[in-house]
Symmetry: C2
Subunit: 243 residues, 2 copies
């Protein structure tokens, strides 16, 4: 399929999501189907905290590359969503809350000790990608938000139904994301459709999204290997007490 129009680009982006977003990963299927134990869900939450903590850093880095006030102002909403406008608010705080509700020690989570090295490599690669790659690609790498509402709905309802250690309060982070993610995705999709004006640029947008789906996938791969099968947590990594 040639990328000769913005419509063809959008179609390709949606196909990438359908084929390679991490809702297709076996670890997600296990989580959705209620087949993880509490320790495995803890490991997921702990590692994902590192990802969450770097999102506003990634978005600030992107803002620092935008010379247009309007685009910068719109993008700043993402930072605000994660950091909150006041202490005790924002997505990072809510993710910490999720971790605590799952029985993890707050200081341990914030220390970033115990996360899998691959989590760090993948997340840091994302931040560096956004710092260094052409702006169009940096923005395109956020397009996984297009596919977030589906995975959030699926994950939330099934976790509530299938894990007795999870309740609505635990998952309050995701409630906000259900409105934030589509708003952010709409803006980014419109941006890349307007700014990727040649087949080569559209190809670079697709590659940026693939880079992102790869790094989300790699994080679940690492969790799977360490905590599901064959259960080989690397030296220094979190060892769940709750099986």
């Amino acid at each position: 399929m040639s990328l000769d129009s913005s419509e063809a680009l959008e179609k390709r982006l949606r196909r990438i999501g359908a084929e390679r977003y991490h809702d297709k990963h076996p670890f997600h299927a296990l989580m959705r189907d209620g087949k993880l134990n509490k320790g495995q869900v803890q490991a997921w939450a702990l590692n994902r905290y590192y990802y969450q903590s770097r999102i506003p850093i990634k978005d600030s880095a992107l803002m620092s590359r935008l010379t247009d006030v309007e685009t910068r102002r719109i993008w700043s909403q993402r930072v605000l969503d994660h950091d909150g406008s006041h202490e005790g608010q924002g997505g990072i705080r809510k993710w910490l809350h999720l971790c605590e509700r799952l029985g993890l020690d707050r200081d341990f989570v914030v220390s970033e000790e115990g996360i899998l090295p691959v989590t760090r490599f993948a997340v840091d690669a994302y931040v560096n990608f956004v710092r260094e790659r052409p702006l169009l690609e940096a923005i395109a790498s956020s397009l996984t938000e297009m596919f977030a509402p589906a995975i959030i709905s699926e994950r939330t309802s099934s976790m509530l139904a299938r894990y007795d250690f999870v309740d609505e309060d635990t998952l309050s982070y995701f409630k906000d994301r259900l409105t934030q993610a589509p708003r952010d995705a709409d803006f980014a999709l419109d941006y890349v459709k307007r700014n990727a004006t040649t087949p080569d640029l559209r190809e670079s947008v697709c590659k940026a999204l693939l880079f992102k789906t790869d790094l989300l996938w790699a994080q679940l791969d690492a969790l799977h290997l360490a905590y599901v099968d064959p259960k080989m947590p690397p030296p220094g990594a979190f060892v769940p007490r709750d099986a």
Copy 2:
């Protein structure tokens, strides 16, 4: 004077301001004393627009290096002050307004054409400094805000009194800065006092402030050479029509 305490550090920082802040520059003295013509004031406003436009970029870059949510949230206020929370607001918009009130064409100002190459070099050096130097130094380079209220008061009152092409509406940008600058400076000064815990680190803080006073000075030097004495605007630079 040895930098063996945070009080000694603050004292040294204030001395650097007293000796080397750009309120000591001949160009500022001419502006204050009503001795610039309209074209010279236009050249100043045009070149400073580039500086203004890069401040939120610099501050976003700094935010992208902060891993602490609280510090990042406080720092984000600076970006908001310059970009505004809605279209038509914020410091950059107000600086554009100042330029327009001085008779400059808005599109010309925004195009960034006509600025002095030294303006670009100095401002870009500032952004790069904040991106690349140790975080403590990046934050310390903002400490010129400590000295801003004095120069703003002096500049505002004398410009209103001495230039018939300047009125209060023209200078509305500075009204906001009179409260913003001390708030920002207090935070940054407290930060460096707490975090520069050795004489070497305190020395690095002083050097960062010197770097900043140097680059503010260099911008007025360039304006002076191009538009005051010996009036040698480089090829491509703005040529005032109003003498």
